[in-house]
């Protein structure tokens, strides 16, 4: 059944303070809407359960991208085209720029926002593996103030997150310290554009004389929400890349991931692809010369 416009009250206060006041006055009653690439689809299908919506589109505080010496701070309503066009993101945070180029099509990238992708909380979210690999932090705001959580702690369950009913996702912080890390991102889907991931893996690693000193693995579609593969990371920290290390990482990975069968793929295929992606990343790492 088609959505009925009369069933939804949409307001656009135009500035952040007024949006926060609305959320505080009736916690949980208002659904924020930015580019509408998710909510308007639900509306068209007649399954949008949101009688009251507040527009975030065009609120300047929410779509600026600030660069400081330590970090890049991306306003939650920055669009994926904004990310692709930003010089610092395109050079220092290549994985995020690449993920942005995979979102739907150009028309979707000009409207879909980074914050929307995260709040929507799809297990397959295109931006999540990159943000997990970059150790992003999420800043939330309400009339009570601001607080930050690591992105790896933002999703708390299938389509659930750390936001309280009066809070808004405000910004995404990326620490500028990945210039010397090996970086990797690959999405496996049915076609290049307009496809939702069957599996995606984002990764960063820092090596010292062939030893893995830091590693972050961010996965999509391998759990009910985008997640770091912490056990697989632990199995690799302090190791050099050998056939044995890779094989033991496979075992930990297969025990750690919890993919499902759904319309896009099967759990079995997802497990196999996850192993292949991990392999591709590990084999791209610089290996110590004595190792073969």
């Amino acid at each position: 059944m088609r959505g009925n416009a009369a069933m939804h009250d949409l307001v656009a206060p135009g500035e952040l303070g007024a949006v926060l006041e609305l959320l505080a006055a009736e916690p949980g009653a208002w659904t924020p809407i930015a580019g509408g690439t998710e909510l308007m689809v639900a509306f068209a299908a007649g399954r949008l359960a949101a009688p009251k919506l507040v527009s975030l589109w065009g609120i300047p505080d929410l779509h600026t991208i600030d660069v400081t010496p330590q970090s890049v701070v991306i306003g939650a309503a920055a669009t994926f085209l904004d990310l692709r066009r930003h010089a610092v993101i395109a050079t220092e945070f290549l994985l995020l720029a690449k993920a942005a180029s995979w979102i739907g099509s150009i028309a979707n990238q000009g409207r879909a926002t980074l914050g929307g992708n995260l709040v929507n909380g799809s297990p397959a979210a295109d931006s999540s593996p990159a943000l997990l690999a970059y150790d992003a932090e999420i800043e939330m705001i309400s009339v009570r103030g601001r607080r930050r959580v690591p992105y790896s702690a933002f999703h708390t369950g299938y389509k659930r997150n750390a936001l309280l009913p009066d809070e808004l996702l405000y910004a995404i912080h990326l620490p500028r310290r990945f210039a010397h890390h090996v970086q990797y991102l690959r999405k496996v889907g049915t076609r290049r554009a307009m496809a939702i991931a069957k599996v995606a893996l984002g990764a960063t690693a820092l090596l010292e004389k062939g030893v893995i000193r830091e590693i972050r693995l961010g996965a999509a579609s391998l759990a009910p929400y985008p997640t770091r593969l912490l056990q697989t990371e632990s199995a690799l920290i302090g190791q050099v890349i050998t056939r044995g290390t890779i094989e033991s990482a496979h075992r930990v990975l297969l025990a750690e991931v919890k993919p499902i069968d759904d319309i896009r793929s099967t759990a079995q295929y997802r497990r196999r692809v996850a192993v292949n992606l991990l392999d591709e990343f590990l084999l791209s790492l610089p290996q110590e010369e004595t190792q073969t």
Partner: protein, 151 residues
């Protein structure tokens, strides 16, 4: 929560913009909003206040077809025509940023616009063959203005 698409087609009688999927997948309803390509089926009209909207009606200027429209005619870029307005708007968006695109840029720019007649090749060829006059950017601006006045 009225959609921009419905306001264009029903309230303003600008029926050049088509509805295909109604969920942002097919690109038939592509228009330009403040110089960016959008799927008008996914834009609540409240968010359009003060914005400049260019539809396919605003591509031709002073009775003369836009170079893209001429190229689509010459190279068989349109068959049934339902996807064509969206294809034209997505192509116009590409050419504004990239006047001489290669085939991979054309494919990326049109990846969100589905056609079920042409097999796409003639559409890609039409875009590749489009010769923009020097003043194309200027005319794009004035036609945006014209559509805005039509509101």
């Amino acid at each position: 929560m009225k959609r921009l698409l419905d306001v264009l087609r029903e309230d303003l009688q600008l029926t050049g913009t088509k509805e295909g999927c109604g969920e942002g997948e097919c690109g038939s309803c592509s228009v330009r909003m403040n110089g960016e390509l959008v799927n008008s089926c996914l834009v609540p009209v409240l968010q359009v206040e003060g914005a400049e909207i260019q539809t396919v009606e605003g591509l031709a200027l002073n009775g003369e077809l836009h170079p893209l429209q001429k190229a689509f005619l010459q190279h068989g870029g349109a068959q049934c025509g339902i996807c064509t307005p969206g294809m034209l708007m997505a192509s116009a968006q590409l050419l504004e940023h990239c006047p001489h695109p290669d085939m991979s840029q054309i494919r990326e720019a049109l990846a969100g616009n589905l056609c079920r007649c042409t097999g796409f090749m003639r559409i890609f060829e039409s875009v590749a063959a489009t010769n923009l006059p020097e003043s194309a950017e200027h005319s794009a601006e004035s036609s945006t203005e014209r559509t805005r006045h039509a509101r």
